[in-house]
Symmetry: C2
Subunit: 322 residues, 2 copies
Amino acid sequence: MLESRHRGAVVAVDGDGRTLFAVGEMEAPVFPRSACKAMQALPLVESGAADAYGFGAEALALACASHSGEPEHVALASEMLAAAGRDVGALECGAHWSNNQATLIEQARTLEKPNALYNNCSGKHAGFICACCHSGNDPAGYVGYDHPIQREIRSVISHLTGAILGRDNCGIDGCSIPTYAVPLKGLARGFAKMATGIGLEPLRASASKRLIDACMAEPFYVAGTKRACTRLMKTAPGRIFAKTGAEGVFCAAVPEKGIGIALKCEDGATRAAEAMVAATLARFFADEPEIHAALMAQANRPLRNWNGMHVGDVRVSAPFTA
Amino acid sequence: MLESRHRGAVVAVDGDGRTLFAVGEMEAPVFPRSACKAMQALPLVESGAADAYGFGAEALALACASHSGEPEHVALASEMLAAAGRDVGALECGAHWSNNQATLIEQARTLEKPNALYNNCSGKHAGFICACCHSGNDPAGYVGYDHPIQREIRSVISHLTGAILGRDNCGIDGCSIPTYAVPLKGLARGFAKMATGIGLEPLRASASKRLIDACMAEPFYVAGTKRACTRLMKTAPGRIFAKTGAEGVFCAAVPEKGIGIALKCEDGATRAAEAMVAATLARFFADEPEIHAALMAQANRPLRNWNGMHVGDVRVSAPFTA
């Protein structure tokens, strides 16, 4: 028996913008939320800040991350800020307990309350601050719509997605920075561009490759223990990029195949977005049975109750299984 | 801009089964999950166990509860078991940390790990065990489909909802007991019967009234701090019964008006089910502006980010606002 049903839209495109797979409305605007953090991290690399501060793959991955606030994430966010001569006081993202239960329990036992380094976006915000500091901009107020770093991010996302970004399609994200509703296909196109470099000037192409490669090389720093992004990227190391966003968004890329993917679960459910992205990625690994099976096992997964009994399954339906 | 959209079905009926309000498919079967716990608690009262063990409104409310595992809930579940000469070892519901973040943090600081008394269903299970003990049935295996208490519950729910319950429409709930998919309208009808006594023999009518009254009198014991069920029932003390279930189900009643309500969010989202039930209840308090406004404030509520900024709203749409 079917108990609950999710609906959504997904589109996969190549670097030239050709649609390879699509379900649902792909021109409707969606807020990418954290799924576009790799785009938002481009100024950190393009400005030269990442090199100046000696950031390796872990720090670049953390700049693209929605991390679980595990000790390694928190320590690295702090180190990134320290490289620019700043500390937690510079972060404007707010603070929250980990969304991961095991991490939250550990935090509860060791912290009175978490500071902003524990915010899942602290790496992204540290990246913003580092980009500002290296460019000689005062980072204060860096979450504001008119701050130079947000203007630059607006330009980057507009360039990659082909969408016009402005007050009209601007919302405020969980971490207080602007987020812009862009057509789903434009979002997929942007990740295809980042993954392939097609249509990008050399600086942006190399910065994009560096960020995508960093995430694939250090998937733990993009999310954390038992998280979907981390698991997806570990399924085919160095070959799959995947990043979740709030409200059922997921973006992904298969760089070697030149593919960018974006999807949105209509109702905002993460469980559905995770199933959709795994099944969509699996389509592009049809000729590699082990990877295909490992991805489909993330799309169709058993649900267990408090006694460990198998009581149901999350399953993708026809458009994703055909 | 609309970011995410939930769909669902809702039906409100009176004690004679007349439909007072309906949106979507009301004959399709849904698993009521924990939303029908008050039905499942009827054997506890009808058997005489509740009287024999001296249970007051708090214990009866806890027998109908999906509680947050707060200290008062845990202590009372333990007392209920002790009344029947049993302890936590008799519970077959499994254990889990609180779903309420503040409670989980407190649990993490004081417990190595939670036992089955902390399970949100421990009051319901304690009720099952008490009903068994008082009736001279061995409670061992009480979660099984063929155990006398589950056979009795099957009979009760079938009688109240008018649905046939069997292996064909049986699933296993989070706490390991059988749950049966029944038409949404049958579920609403069942709560209208419980709230009015219409069509029920005197014993079942009085047991139903006693359970509904207990929940309305002790709403903290039905859910807990900052929980929707508790808040809804406190909005009009003694006049609204409301109970959530997993996967976007909600049941409710307005006894003085003879109304039973059942609803299901298609995608299983609790945030939508909570908005739907508040807006549906509000329809029946149109002539009491303060209560109506308080209910609509639970249907349409602001969303704040980690910095406390107002970044969006949950809002019910046309069928619920008309």
